[in-house]
């Protein structure tokens, strides 16, 4: 991964309202210990990441949005590759020990960056 690698985030349909991407799409699920799962855009395209998430992992996504690794570090977060055996392009944005309120502010910053870039692959 390089500073300009795009980290691809799958967005659940419930996190987009009237076409507006909400920060909940970039808010870490507590069970994941502050780690937000993303795809490494250097290893997989937005379309293939979408297909993997929907067809292989059988989860719901209305589209793929992305942030650059450099942008992630500029908002004060760390991201790194986290390859899994059957999921080599897996990476994470680590919210570490941020409190819920801190997570919300960080998620809003990531949302703004991702929304500016636009949906990289939308649900057909």
């Amino acid at each position: 991964m390089t500073p300009h690698s795009i980290l691809l985030r799958q967005v659940h349909p419930n996190f987009v309202f009237n076409g507006q991407l909400t920060s909940q799409a970039f808010f870490p699920f507590p069970k994941d210990n502050g780690k937000l799962s993303v795809y490494d855009g250097d290893q997989i395209s937005a379309k293939d990441a979408y297909l993997h998430y929907v067809k292989v992992l059988c989860h719901q996504s209305c589209g793929v949005w992305g942030v650059e690794q450099l942008e992630v570090s500029e908002v004060g977060l760390i991201s790194h590759a986290d390859a899994l055996i059957d999921f080599p392009s897996h990476a994470v944005i680590d919210f570490a020990n941020a409190t819920e309120k801190e997570c919300r502010k960080l998620a809003k910053k990531l949302r703004t960056l991702a929304a500016a870039r636009g949906c990289l692959h939308c649900e057909p």
């Binding site: 419930n14 009237n18 989860h59």
Partner: protein
């Protein structure tokens, strides 16, 4: 004098319990009217020297709902004749012939209607069968033949065989844009952008004045409208009820949130607890400040809510449903962030919360 006349059978989800929804009575009443009108027509066809049917011909003919048989929703309609009609047995055969002709008309293939059925009576199918919903049907038994089956689609075809539009029941939602007090009607802007004129009773004038032009509050119109063969709305011709839906967009959103089930997010997201969600929904729908922009409201994976605005400072509120605690945050513009927590347990606390939102949710600077 009472004899069994016909035993229609109703099929569809609503009839699975072998009960007959009250509104179906209107279809049966419309069926009775059609049989009477058709019987009159048959009589006059055979008595061309007469201008009118005999006295009491129609007035003494009545269909009564005798019982609903178990095993299906099959109301037995009994023919009850009184007065002179009871004394002239030959007359009642016109009603039986009319019954058979109505069934033949419904069962006719394509547009080849029976020649004995006058086209000008087809408009009665605007009423008969109007209560049937998609997937429902009314079966009229025929001697030694398969049932005549009236479905919403068949009803539409029968009416359109004699007219350019047909009637069906509608529920429309939209904003009141303009009222015409003289004609006692208002222009309804529908959710899809189309518009139509809706007649209103005088009792609705006050609400039309109050909510006209306020596009956040929509009116739900239940009634009857005409549609063309492409099912495009032509005109609202009758209104059964008019109901204001405050903050309709929020109401629709909260309805969607209430449908969530545990596991909605990657098999693990929690659904918002319904009791707390109802409290939040009622407050937002009834009291959300008119001048503040509406938020996007989304669920969180832990079963809470996030309200977020596309406004100055990217304001958001995390609402924890377990303790009705709300955490507001907005980025400051060359100033510290705005952060405030609220408890939402009392009227006063809700009033303070909405007053705060009204003051702090500001449109983006252009």
């Amino acid at each position: 004098m009472k004899t069994q006349f016909i035993q229609p059978r109703f099929d569809g989800e609503r009839f699975a319990e072998h009960t007959l929804p009250i509104e179906i009575a209107r279809d049966l009443a419309a069926y009775e009217t059609l049989v009477v009108e058709l019987a009159k027509h048959l009589y006059l066809q055979e008595h061309q020297d007469k201008q009118r049917v005999p006295k009491g011909f129609a007035a003494d003919f009545h269909l009564h709902l005798e019982n609903i048989e178990p095993g299906s929703t099959k109301p037995m309609l009994a023919l009850v004749v009184t007065g002179l009609l009871a004394l002239v047995s030959s007359t009642s055969t016109y009603f039986e012939r009319a019954r058979d002709l109505v069934s033949e008309c419904i069962a006719a293939e394509g547009s080849s209607l029976p020649s004995a059925f006058p086209k000008e009576l087809l408009f009665h199918f605007n009423q008969m069968g109007r209560s049937l919903r998609f997937g429902e049907s009314m079966h009229l038994p025929r001697a030694e033949m398969s049932d005549a089956v009236l479905t919403p689609e068949r009803r539409k075809k029968l009416v359109l065989a004699c007219d350019l539009v047909y009637e069906r029941e509608v529920e429309l939602m939209g904003a009141i844009e303009e009222a015409d007090w003289g004609k006692s009607s208002f222009r309804l802007r529908l959710m899809d952008g189309n518009q139509t004129t809706v007649p209103m009773p005088d009792s609705f004038h006050h609400q039309a004045r109050q909510y006209g032009g306020r596009n956040r509050h929509l009116v739900v119109v239940r009634g009857v409208a005409t549609f063309d063969s492409w099912d495009r709305l032509q005109k609202v011709i009758g209104v059964e009820s008019l109901e204001i839906q405050h903050n309709a967009e929020l109401a629709i959103r909260f309805d969607k949130l209430a449908e969530l089930k545990d596991g909605w997010y990657e098999g693990a997201g929690l659904a918002p607890p319904s009791e707390a969600l109802t409290i939040i929904a009622e407050k937002f729908i009834a009291h959300y400040p008119e001048s503040a922009p509406l938020p996007s409201i989304v669920p969180t994976q832990e079963g809470n809510l996030l309200a977020e605005w596309n406004a100055l400072g990217d304001p958001s509120v995390d609402i924890h449903l377990s303790d009705l605690n709300a955490c507001f945050h907005a980025f400051g513009e060359d100033a510290p962030d705005v952060e405030q927590d609220f408890m939402l347990s009392s009227e006063t606390q809700w009033n303070d919360f909405f007053a705060f939102l009204n003051q702090n949710i500001k449109p983006r600077l252009v």
